[in-house]
Structure formats: C-alpha cells, structure tokens
Amino acid sequence: MDTKRFVFILSCFIYCFVGESVINAQNSDAPKPLSNTHYIKNCFLVKQPGVILSGQNIIIKDGFISDIGPNLKIPYDAQILVADSMYVYAGFIDGYSNTGITKPEQKDRPKISDPGNPPNDIAGITPQILSDENYKPNEKSVTDMRTAGFGLSHVAPRGMMLPGQSSIFLLGEGNTDEMILKSGYAQNFQFETTRGVYPSTLIGIMAKLRDLYHNATIAGQHEEKFLKNPIGLARPNYNKELKSLYPITTKKQPLYIVAQKTKDVHKALLLKDELGFELVLTEVKQGWHYIEQIKQQNIPVFLSLDLPGQDKKTPEKDGKEGEKKDSLKTEIKEVKKENIDPEKKDYDAKKAAVVKEYLAQAANFEKNGINFGFSFLNSKASDIKKTIKKLIDNGLSENGALGALTTNPAKILGLSHLLGTVEKGKIANLTITDKSYFDEKSVIKFVFVDGKKYDYSEKPRKQKDGKTDHKMIGLWSYEVEIPGASRKGKINIKKDGSDFKITVKDDTSSNEDIATDINVDGSKLSFSIMASLSTPMKVDFSLEFDDKNYTGNVNVASFGTFPIKGGYDGDPKLNF
C-alpha cells in the first residue's frame, strides 16, 4: 500500500514537471487511443505475393502483429475492425524518395572567390548530413504517401552530388526520432551539379567522386593504423566529409546512385567496377540496356514510377471540370489533325514505340528475374496506383507489382525480418483495401503504421469553409522574389457556384494562365498553372491569406522555390 501511494505521488510530481512538455509535443488534435491493441476480423489476408488466405483474423499489439489465424480469441482491450471482404496487405514500402523533406528555399549563393575550390557544402558535397535532420513527420508528402498505402520510406536528403545519408522512416505521426527505423542506412550520389563551381559538370563529378573515394580509403586506413599504433605516424586530419565516406569504402554502407537515364546507369556501373563499392541503382527510368550486367552482378534496383506518356495532372474529381477539360483537348486535337505532316507522323510512331519501352521496363526486369522495388523521387503519391496499373497493362504481373511494393524493397533494405509480409512477429504495417488493390475500383480503407490505425474509409470532404474562403475572393497583386529578376502581376480569384476559378496574369504577358489543382484549406490556398514559356512549365503556388495580404511560395519546376507576397487589389474581374 505504501509503495503504491509513493508511486502515485511520484508520478504526480513527474507529471507536473515533465507531463506538460510531453503533452505539448503530441499532436493536440489527436485524442490518445484507448488501447494499442487491434483486432482485424475476417479479412482476405495477402500474406505475401501469391499467397491469399480467406477468413483470417489479425491481432496487433504494441506495434507488432501478435497473432494471425481463423480462430483467435479477441483480446479484452482490442479495438475491433470488421474487415469482411477486405484485403489486408503488408504495408507498402517506398524504396527511395525525399518524402518528409521540405524543399529548401532558394538562397543567394555567397560569392565564391575561386570557383575551382569552393567549400564542400557549396559544391554539393555533404555526405555527413543525415536525412533525420530535415525529416518532418507532418509534412504533406508523408501523409500523401501514407494515404497511398505506404508505411515505410527510405528517405534521402535533398541536395546535389553527395546530398548525405538516407534513413528509413516509418510513416507515422509523432516526432522524427520515434519514426526512424534505421538511421544513416545508406550513402547517396546523384548526377547533379552546382552551376558555376567545381565540379560543375558530369565529367567534374565523376572525377571528384573518384578523388574523394580514394582519399576516404587512404584516410580510413590511416586512422585505423593510427589507432592501433600511433608511433611514427602523423595525427589523422579530421575531415567530416571523408569520414562519412569511410563506410562505403569498407562496404559497411551501400552507395545509392540516382541513375535515371541509360547513360546514368552506365556511369553508375562504371564507377562500381572501378571503385568497388556496394551499388544500389535507384530512380531508374531507362535501365533495360544493362539488364544482363545488373543480373550478373546481382545489383539491387529501384525503378522510377515517373513514366513518360503520363497525364501529369491529378485525375479529375468532378464531372463538370472533367468534361470541360476533355472538350478543350478534343478541340486542340482537331486543330492539330489538319496540320499533321508525314515527318510528324513518323516521329509520333517512333515516340510511341519508345514510350512503350519505358512502360515495359518493369515487366522486362521481372522476366529476367531481377528483384526490384519502386522509387518515388519524381512521382506524385496520388498517381502511384494508376502508374502501377500501366506497368501491369504492359506485362508486369500483379504478384511482381506487389513484390516490388513489399517483399523486394524489404529485402533490399535489409528489413525482411521486420517488414514486407503479413506474418506473426512483424511490425504492424498494413494496407487494407475494399477489393484487391489491383482492381481498378479498389479503395484504400485503412493503413496501419507501426500498429497505429489511420482511417480512410470516409473520404475527407473538401473543406468549404465559407467564412475563410470568401476572404480570398478578389483581385490580388503579386510579387515573386527571384534573385535579380522579380516578377509582378495579378491573381484573380472568383467563385463559380461552389468552385474556385483562378487566373494568373504576369505584367509582362498578355496571356492569362488558368489555374488547376485548386485546394483550399482554411486560410491556405494552393493551385498550379502551366506557364506559357518556350516549353510549358508547371508553376505551383501555395499561399496563406491574412485579411488583406498574403504570403507564400512559388515553385517553378526544377528551378526552385521562391517567396511570393501580395495584397488585395479590389473585387475580382468577372470576365476572366
């Protein structure tokens, strides 16, 4: 009795001092779950690709799958999920992406006095950085991936040539550290250069990587020798970049190379042959020329889901908008038909054949018995299912696709003992659909991440809070701060029934660009335009309104993100 009372008083004290901060760290909107035990009742269980069991029940306890079977005793504290006719898959695994890492704002680069000798960070050489430092579990990209059925991401930092070390994250809510499954899992390299400083080109980064690799090998060996017996040896220099590269020279860390096109794949294989590190090819879009070599050397691969011939826009949600877009499309097509010349026709035929090659790549890899997963550096979470359907239409088997989403990435990432299949003892990452995932009409109903349930069974309705969104209606000025070349213009926001209509007109242009992908969330507004440049370029706006002013960001495809601000300029023009 005494002890119990003592514990009670102690816990009160602890609560007073610590409790508040703990509570603040939690997401205040989410009530604490009653229990961490779940009972999924009567489902089709897809244990692994090709193995489907019916009438199964699953018990999840403290983040793990604690039991599976047709006849289980329901734990007294379990939340019951009736999954009649639902399909339960192992949570999907994102093999490589920047999920959870916000794009850094474009900053003016400090003046470099000698472009041949820039500081490492400016040259894009930051192998010491961990993606843990910048990962945000509440970033939109995390929720987007989770909504698409993913429970785990292998996240690389954003950057240039050597952006840093990637870590593996569970895609749950909570603080970053809690979500890390494996920190500093891999080192990363990409064929991305910083303009104007060494190495500024492909030939530069190839040479620079060789140089760094050899020096890391030498420095690592020297340090080891010094630790054993320092007599007669110089004290090792501390060099954080080289030190971070030791593990790839000793094969304790794999080196992921982002190799999108055929020549990138060739370069990656060339570097591996030359330097001898453990290579993983990732974001591969055009790798089929090297299938033999990849197979012989048993190189793990993540294929990109950014495929050509895709409609990059999000699927139309309501019929009205869709019809209008379609009619516009057919109009354009009709105009073009008249002007078609034979050269264009030949070109189109050739191009169609090329697109087909890209779409058939996954099937081709499957046929050759190569284990591959998918990577998502350049693709949208909401397009994933549609894209996978395209791969299946082009010869990939459903089991192959499921393997690429679950068992294969688990194996490549060295996590087969924890994830990838639905088995007793594994981490409770599950994706639950109403029909087979590969059925065109299937919908993801629930996603479990680390034993925590995320419910998508009721589609979130578009927030249409009249009180806030009417404040956005109007003609607004804008100013985009692009270093040395700021842009000004007007944004016209009006409402047509319940739908927003937004057009953007630059002061230097006579064209108005019509916005798509309009999303309103409280006082936040985001939309996209295709700016009419020499090649049409997608520009994403995300704005936050505050009475008569707003601020935000503009993201111009591949050029970066720039701040935007503006103010109210009167009623909307109606004749846009």
Binding site: G116, N117, T201, M206, R210, K263, L270, E343, V354, S534
Partner: protein, 459 residues
Amino acid sequence: MLRYILLIIILLPKDILSQNILIKNGTILTVTNGVKENTDVLIINGKIAKIDINLNAPDGTRIINANNQYVMPGIIDAHSHIALDVINEATSPVTAEVNVGDVLDPMDVAIYRALAGGVTISHAMHGSANAIGGQCETIKHRFGTTNPDDLRMQGAPRTIKFALGENPIRVHGEGSKISPNTRMGVEQIFRNAFSQAQIYMKEWDDYKKGINKTSPEYSLRNETIADILKGDIIIHCHSYRADEILMLMRVLKDFGIKKICFQHVNEGFKVAPELAAFGASASVFADWWAYKFEVYYSTAFNAAILTRNGVVTSINSDSEELIRHLYHEAAKTQRYGNLTDDEALALITINPAKQLGIDNRVGSIEVGKDGDIAIFSQHPLSIFTIPQMTIVDGIVKFDIKNDDADMRIDINPNETYSSFYENQRHHESQGCMHGLEELLMEDSYAKFMRYKYSKNHSH
C-alpha cells in the same frame, strides 16, 4: 568445344560480330603504298586480310562492287567534340583529372552524319576553356549502339587537351578574376602544375619506399599530370600564336615532355622548322580564321607549309558540320600549296592516326590494319565526289543506297515536338567553348526570364 565457341560468340556484343567483306574492282588509295587500280580488298573478322587482284571470298562474304569507285582508308578527325555530353569543366584553369570518356554519347546522331562523310574515327576532345583541360577519348564511329563503351577505340593511347591564349584568359582571368589573366599567366599555370606533379610523385615514392610512414593525399589531378610527365599521355594543345607555341615547347623541354600535337596552330607556318625540330605535330583548319582577335594572322597555305617542313600535319573539323566533308578540306591544300594526292589524303588519314598514336592500326589500307574503309563515287579530292559507303571494323555503317531518313537512336519520350530541333539547339554551340554560355552568365534565372520575355514579344 563447339559449345564453348558458341558461348564466346553469344557473349560478344552484337555489334562486334563483323561480317567478312570483299570490295571488288575498286581504285584503292592506300595512302602509304600508292594507288592500285582494279584491285580487291578482303576484310575478315574486321581486319584487312588481303589486297590483290581477283580475290576469292570465303562463303558468306558480302561482296561490294566498287567498279569505277574509289576506296580509301576511313577518314580520321583529330579534333572533334561530337558524341559528348559535356565538353568543358570550366571552373578551374587546371582540370587534368576530368575525362570526356566518362560522358560519351553513342546516341548522338552527329556520329552518323560523320559516317556519311567517310569519317570512321574521331578524337572526342575536352574544350579549350582551361590551360590544362580534361582527358580526351579516341572513338570509333560504331553508330547503332546504346553503350558508350562500344565507341571507345580500346588500346588507343591516352590524350589530354591543353589550351593557350584568349580562351583560358577570358574564362578564368576575366570571368572569375583569377589566374591566368595574361599569356604569361598561362605559362605559369603549366609550370606550376608540372612542378606540383613532380613533388606529388616524390611524396608517393617516399611513402612507397618507407621513407614516410604517413600516406600522402591522393590527387587524381596530379596523378594525371604525372602520367603526362612519364610520357603516357599525348598532349593536344589548342593554340594560335607563334610566340605561345614556342613558349609551350620551351616549357615541355624543361620538363622532359616530348609528345605534343598542336591544334589549330594557325601561326604554325611561322614556326614550322621549330615544330619539326621538336618533333611536334600540327592539326589545322584548311581555311578557317578571323573568328577572334588572336586568329587573324592566318593562311590557307598553313597545312602545305607545315607538311613541306616535315611536320606531321592533319586537317581537322572541330565542328559536327565540317566533319562531314573533311575530304573537301584536304583538297583545298592542292589549291593552296600544291600538295600531291597522297600528301593531301595523308592529312585526313595516316597523319591524324600518327597524332593519336594509332597509326599502326588505322590510317591506311594495309594488310593487318582495321577494316575501316570509305568508298567514294569519284576521287575523294574531287569537288564532285560523293561518299557511297563507310565501313568500320568490317561492318557497313553507312550506305548511301540504304540511308534512312531518321537515324536517331534515342528519342526523348517526354518531348512534345521532334527532338531533331532539340538536337539542333544542342549542337549549335558544339565547339571548343561549349558549355560556357551558362557559366559566363551571372544568373541562371536571368536566362529563364529572358526566355519568357522573348516568347511574349514574339506573340
């Protein structure tokens, strides 16, 4: 045994499997051994096997009738930038460590266009932005492959690009406000680089001998310059003015370096005896000059003067357009300098082969050499000649009778218009200073905005 042979054949890249070819009744311009009328050339397994009258071919040999046609060795271009994705790493005056062999583009349609001009080998070079630029790659025009390695001429000696004069001064001195800012500065860049490499070699020697226990730092740049000092790499130096050419020869003499080919070398005619005495070779334009200040003092007699002074001379293109008619360029030396047919043909065959260190394998029609052949409708030095067929390693790579309208290998699947125009844009500036437009611009966004402005104005 049979299975083993089959296995070897299967493992060979498709392209390397060459056909046996018998070229019948042509006028053979051997370049090194005179002209042979009505003669046959037999190519077996990619090599020239026999040159004689009335040859019999083994079964399965492809017979090519060259009656009334001229058969010459495949043309070699000692200075080109085709088939490359990057030409300049222009951020430092010394970049010996970079290698354009890393960025070969086998899909570049310029390779096919060069084949259509009888060119079978080109020297894919780094640009001239830096005093010591990058290493170059001697490539065979094996068009039709997607693998960059298939282009390499295996076993060809290593080469490196140097540059004198205005280009390195403009890029680094004026552009980045660092050395070299003058022609004197360029000389000092070379001397410093060679001296540093000597120190580097000594440090590593001391370490290897056990004099020093601590390993020196590795430097791919110094490794490469050390290989130049050891004579393992041939220098190809962009140059115009006579004073600078003499300067570089003095520097090389001081460091004991012998292998040098001067490129462009427009004032070579002024120092031809000195070049010959040094053993330097020269690769020139037939008649191209006045495109910048240091290139005004020039003459179309340059190649002839150099040749007659005993300098091994070649005529190059430095352009994906000129590369298609190097035979015209060579013919100009007959108008300006009265070179003989053999001398003029040597400028685009055996001489560039010598400058690249591959003259034992290509550059003339001799038994044992590679089956690299160009067939012309008339004498290749005639203005009326038309290339008919080009053969690389015994494989027909261009045939005027079977010349498809669209020879592109790789089409960008995301492009909305024909990537032919995209290629045009890319190639407009495919020369020595390629890649610098962007570097010299203060701000890349300015370019993006200019695009937008120009678009709006044109509407």
